[in-house]
Amino acid sequence: MEELPDTVIATQALTKRYRGGQLAVDGLDLTVPAGSVFGFLGPNGSGKTTTIRMLMGLIEPTAGSARVLGQPMPRSARAVLPHVGALIEGPALYGFLSGRDNLLRYDAADPTADPRTRRTRVAAALDRVGLTAAAGKKAKAYSLGMKQRLGLAAALLQPRRLLVLDEPTNGLDPQGMREIRSLIRELASDGTTVFLSSHLLDEIEQVCTHAAVMAQGRLITQGVVAELAAGVRGRLVVTTPDAGEAARVLKEQGAGDVVVIDDRVTAEPPDRDLADVNAALVKAGVRVRGFGVERASLEDAFVALTGEGFDVAG
């Protein structure tokens, strides 16, 4: 095998062109290291779900190859998928079955799942997502958040080596989001690799160790989250009651893109010692309350990479 043994997902020039001619995924080279929580980021319509479907063997790639857990997909689907738990494009349930019966059915679909432990495993999965009390209720009576939890429970029916979670906190309230995020961290600390797609940048920033950014079917960047954000320069922030004067001084000192909002002046930091900039402000009689550089967020990184706002659909 030519690839590194500690790579859980590896794609080479993975491409999908739909029958209409639309290029959904274009030459994707994705590498997901084992044990990482990998954030897969991109606006709606950027090809995230198509990529996930190709990785799960639901869609045949037009060109290129994908390996999951070291095996080619979709050819080795039956060997690979029992080790993979997936939540793809939101949960799908049998409304006329109870939550528990839904899980029993999904578990029965896996020929490697032991029927003798089925009920125990289903109960454990329900407990893990906090649905034990509602397990006997028909799934059509579930709220969106409960459905999302049940979908997550289906991914946790067996110990998995890889979890593929497509927008797992969709439809959850803030409390539910926190619970799911801490569940993801817990699973990751057990050694499960988590592949998490999201359009929520702060979510990726909170839980992920690695991230890849997609836009319009292409991979823009991938790497360690801290490094992605570090590649972008932070912004100089000055808090002062004399905002107008401060803005003038900052421009004078060579700062670009100066923005004044109430008593906050932000700017691209100039290429000189910031202590001199501060001294210049004070010398000009600006009463400085706060002075510092704000660390760049992943959103800044995204905007810097794509040159556009995040919510633009491809």
Binding site: T7, A34, R53, M56, A79, E89, L104, R105, A109, A113
Partner: protein, 304 residues
């Protein structure tokens, strides 16, 4: 599976699998069991069976009322071309079984099969549950076979529901006893009962073709309703075409052409020609549309 294997790095599935406990080949039938349970617990399935069970009750009551006035029933099945069993019901309740099967086979039974078969794959795609079954991983061929086996089970259950309902109503409303075959010979009630069971099995087998056709249609679309409507539409079309004399060269290849041959089981000796042709046609449809469904389903992109 233990927690240790969950942290194994990639590329070692076979090793993990060997260490993680044996996979029993019988576990693969868990899906079939789940499918049967799911299908027969659906409100819709139960409603279809209830409609089928009601047909013999209505026929039985109609015959009872008609003959209660002193008049005698005319010949001819209620669907027109059916065998003339109906006139015998007043003499022997067992004939209600044959009448009810003759009445439901042209439309009610295949329509019910069309609904179940048409919904089999398309309904799962529509609900989005198909993608979760496939990543479980159910395996495409295994899922398709399971769906087909379940549709067949429904054919049998549906036919037996009609037969048992008819037998019950027949026993309650009319006398039972020795009966006369179409050829005029007398057979005992026990043998008559045996023939009735055999006929029910042949009727169930007559539905294999529609089931395969419906399953194929079901793999073509992501809409359960569209698949059901198409299958039932095809059924009606074929039934109509089977009545047009100019098409008689094609008619032996229609899945419904030899359906009513089951009446030949009531001859003495049994006239096998058409019965065998019927089963042959059903086998042909199962092979052709089964392969087509497999070819389509195993290569298709699952985007729903």
């Amino acid at each position: 599976m233990s927690q240790d294997e969950a942290v194994l790095p990639g590329g070692a599935i076979e090793g993990a699998r060997k260490a993680g406990g044996k996979v029993n080949p019988l576990w693969t039938f868990g899906l079939l069991r789940s499918e049967l349970l799911t299908t027969f617990r659906r409100w819709r399935t139960l409603a279809l069976l209830a409609v089928l069970a009601a047909v013999p009750i209505l026929v039985g009551i109609a015959v009872k009322i008609e003959t209660g006035d002193g008049g005698s029933m005319g010949g001819g099945g209620p669907q027109g071309g059916g065998p003339a069993f109906i006139s015998q019901i007043t003499n022997n309740g067992l004939f209600l079984v044959f009448t009810a099967l003759a009445a439901t086979l042209p439309f009610f039974l295949p329509m019910a099969i069309g609904v179940i078969a048409g919904d089999a794959i398309a309904g799962e795609a529509n609900a989005g549950t198909l993608r979760y079954l496939l990543v479980a991983p159910a395996g495409r061929s295994r899922l398709l076979l399971t769906k087909y086996a379940t549709t067949m089970a429904f054919c049998l259950v549906a036919t037996l529901v009609v037969a048992i309902s008819a037998l019950t109503v027949g026993a309650l409303l009319f006398p039972l006893g020795e009966l006369t075959t179409i050829s005029g010979t007398r057979i005992s009630f026990a043998e008559g009962l045996g023939r009735a069971l055999l006929i029910a099995l042949v009727v169930a087998a007559s539905l294999i073709g529609v089931a395969a056709l419906g399953l194929f249609v079901s793999t073509l679309t992501n809409s359960g309703i569209a698949a059901m409507a198409t299958t039932v539409g095809l059924l009606i079309t074929v039934q109509i075409l089977d009545q047009i004399p100019q098409l008689h060269a094609l008619q032996p290849y229609f899945f419904s052409h030899y359906w009513l041959s089951f009446a030949d089981l009531m001859r003495e000796p049994v006239y096998w020609d058409d019965l065998v042709k019927n089963l042959g046609i059903q086998g042909l449809y199962a092979a052709v549309f089964g392969s087509a469904a497999w070819a389509r389903f195993t290569t298709r992109d699952i985007t729903a």
